[in-house]
């Protein structure tokens, strides 16, 4: 097994809160520069910049693209949905669009939502407000993504806004999430007590600006940097696993848990 670093949550210029500099091409370039083996494009409630992301990754070796979206559930929980194949992600994107509240974006308030190609040419603007909410309940979304062979990660569960715990108060029964994402300041040991032991923690950058890509990432011990290997590593199957930061660097007293529960 080899250790590969993956950043599984990144926004492009299409996300209203994303920097206009963050074209799919530059995101791929940043991933290569920061030695990320895998990087996921996860704009808010859309996959429309994934074709450019795929094309950019195809031009350069060294990084595996993962296609997805950060979907807002009916409970207003942010959920990262990931797929191996561009075509699957685009079909899923069309499904999400049908379930997104039909509210028009106001660029003066939320920013433009440009759909671009691999050469950063603007193909058009998404006019529906992408930071809106879908009518898909968490468990419905969970089932939809899994039926399409995807992975489901609850985003930034430690945050007081749009997180599983802020919206639902406690871990919900009857969901089969593949992982939970923790923000930079959150400590695993604090959240471990609130999440079932079978659900692993990952770290993603949730980058909205190019300079934040890979700011935090997750190390996976895998045979190759592929989506199937990633899925196995999240399950801890056949020797694939998440490599905790403590196994990568020598732990210091500052990095040890201050809030054991």
């Amino acid at each position: 097994m080899t250790v590969y670093r993956a950043d599984l949550q990144v926004h492009s210029c299409l996300s209203p809160c994303g920097s206009l500099e963050s074209s799919p091409r530059r995101i791929i370039a940043a991933a290569v520069a920061r030695k990320l083996a895998m990087i996921a494009l996860t704009d808010h409630n859309t996959t429309a910049n994934c074709p450019a992301f795929a094309a950019a990754a195809a031009r350069i070796s060294g990084v595996t693209p993962v296609f997805g979206a950060e979907v807002t559930t009916a409970e207003e929980i942010h959920v990262v949905c990931l797929f191996a194949e561009l075509a699957t992600a685009m079909t899923f994107g069309a499904f999400i669009h049908q379930h997104l509240a039909p509210v028009q974006n106001n660029p003066e308030l939320f920013g433009d939502q440009p759909i671009v190609d691999v050469d950063e040419q603007v193909l058009g603007f998404e006019e529906r407000l992408l930071v809106g909410t879908t009518d898909l309940a968490l468990d419905v979304l969970d089932d939809e993504v899994h039926a399409r062979g995807g992975l489901v990660i609850a985003s930034h569960i430690d945050r007081p806004i749009n997180s599983l715990f802020s919206q639902l108060g406690m871990w919900p029964a009857q969901v089969t999430l593949d992982a939970c994402d923790l923000s930079p300041r959150a400590q695993d040991c604090v959240w471990r007590g609130r999440v079932p032991p079978s659900i692993p923690f990952v770290r993603t950058s949730d980058a909205h600006f190019l300079e934040d890509i890979g700011r935090q990432a997750t190390a996976f011990a895998m045979a190759a940097p592929t989506f199937d290997e990633l899925a196995m590593a999240l399950r801890g199957a056949q020797g694939r696993r998440i490599v905790p930061p403590a196994d990568l660097v020598v732990a210091t007293p500052e990095s040890s848990c201050k809030h054991p529960i």
Binding site: E75, A137, L138, P160, F165, S166, Q167, L168, G169, M170, P172, A173, Q174
Partner: protein, 111 residues
Amino acid sequence: MTVNEIVSALGLAVVSELQDSAVTGAYAADLLSDVVGNAQPGNVLITVQVHRNVVAVAGLVGLAAVIITHGRVPDSDVLTAARDNNVTVLTTAESSFTVAGRLYALGVRSA
């Protein structure tokens, strides 16, 4: 004031089994983390939240009842969980604002 009196006064629909009990006050929120942190035992909760966890949180806090507003209807599995856990779930077409105002007019306070 009791749950039964509130159901009658506001014309609420009882969608699980009604457990009549004294109401200590009311709390309005849609974020269940906020409900866990701030609602009091015996409160009625006014919310648009229909996720199953609303039942779990009602049990945890000891809410007298949950009033789901704005015409939202919980799924049948949520109502089954409510019956299994003796949580009273009530629905109304009125908004949370209107329900809160009407409860306040009846003398119900936050506590």
